[in-house]
Symmetry: C2
Subunit: 112 residues, 2 copies
């Protein structure tokens, strides 16, 4: 079970969201991540630490590098929570469609 | 375009997520929302203000009441951002399936 408080809090920062968007394209090292952001590697590393402890990324050791990638469990956890709201909105639209379908043409403002 | 910083930050609190989960079932007043949380109405109102300014809920005026409901635009905005990560993970799984499909049976550890 992912820590949703930490996950959503980590997502509230634009640089961290941009890092995740980059990792959506594939694994990357700190150096590769630092380049497009014009940020120092320590600054990027601090963001990576937040993302890692929130369960949104995984880092592995490869010699002196520690490449990062998306953490399926953490992202799925956040996504599953949001699915509940997504389904609620979809249901509301269905209800609206039903109401519109049962209305008489003269009642509908879009058909004068 | 929703403010993703504010939206994700608002979602980082468990009470605010619980309020949204309640609103997924339908519109509710502050009084109705305060009941299950054993919180005062002013405390709930503060959370509602955060959710409203983050674009996640909408409030309407009905006499002295201000019923709340989910804000489709804000929630869709958050959801669309996450869809990018969801699709990236799905693609990774597809690649894994392809790799497994091309492997010879003797290479697969699950088939000794």
């Amino acid at each position: 079970m992912p820590n949703l408080d930490a996950a959503f809090s980590a997502l509230a920062d634009p640089t961290r969201r941009a890092i995740l968007a980059r990792l959506a394209l594939g694994e990357a090292t700190v150096m590769e991540l630092a380049q497009p952001f014009a940020m120092t590697q320590p600054a990027i590393s601090r963001h990576l630490k937040v993302l890692e402890s929130a369960g949104l990324i995984i880092r592995r050791v490869e010699g002196t590098k520690r490449p990062c990638r998306l953490a399926p469990d953490g992202i799925t956890g956040v996504d599953q929570w949001l699915a509940m709201l997504r389904q609620a909105l979809a249901k509301n639209y269905e209800r609206l469609d039903e109401v519109l379908a049962t209305m008489q043409p003269e009642e509908r403002k879009d058909r004068p």
